[in-house]
Symmetry: C2
Subunit: 106 residues, 2 copies
DNA sequence: TTGACATGTTATGTTTTTATAACATAATTG
DNA sequence: CAATTATGTTATAAAAACATAACATGTCAA
């Protein structure tokens, strides 16, 4: 499925909260690099771009260039594979039930 | 569901390949700390224990003490929540189909 | 074609993480 | 109870990641 090196890139990419926020912003709609930068006023533009590069190298975002713009899309597949690695087809149902039970109790 | 701080602990915990391997070993059966140490002959015992501490603080493993032994169990819930964060109920099906398609093509 | 806009590259200081060593406690077993 | 086994704590050097600055390229529109 994914090599160890690829996997390492994915998890290291997810380890920074800024990068997770970027993925949140991309969850529903793709965004240009510039748009994303305005969403993080506290961060330097270069910092956001460095994060985007890490996400792209991890294949967590897919990039399309259009003229001078760059559109960033979320790629959900690596995230699904995280789930599948530790929660097999059988455990998936049990985990789902456990989750609901726990949420209902809270 | 999970606070930002908790989330950060979870993703940082998953960022190290040794810790992911530990979770792999715990996927099917719980193991004592000592057993886990023998599975990583290249690593110092202290290193493995430090990793276990990080995993426990992230709630990715649940610990039960029995006498002088310590049994480490995998907790799948935080991993399920990673999936749910970026792959909503609707996208889940589409992602599943996309994954099968891609796997079949390879 | 020139100025403005959107994006990209390289280098660097600061902070975290990783791996280890040295030391310490606590529960079994002979 | 003494030796052994299993686990836990604190401190530290080396490696990696995060944020930034300075510099550079490519595209569009007047």
């Amino acid at each position: 499925m994914s090599s160890d090196v690829e996997n390492d890139r994915i998890f290291k990419a997810l380890a920074a909260s800024t990068r997770r926020s970027i993925l949140d912003l991309l969850k529903d709609d793709p965004q240009t690099t510039g748009e994303l930068c305005t969403r993080f006023p506290a961060l330097d533009r270069c910092t956001v771009m460095q994060h985007l590069k890490v996400l792209e190298e991890a294949d967590l975002i897919i990039v399309r260039r259009e003229g001078r713009e760059r559109w960033n899309h979320l790629n959900p597949l690596p995230i699904k594979h995280i789930h599948d690695r530790w929660i097999g087809p059988y455990a998936a149902y049990a985990t789902e039930v456990l989750d609901r039970l726990k949420t209902d109790l809270e």
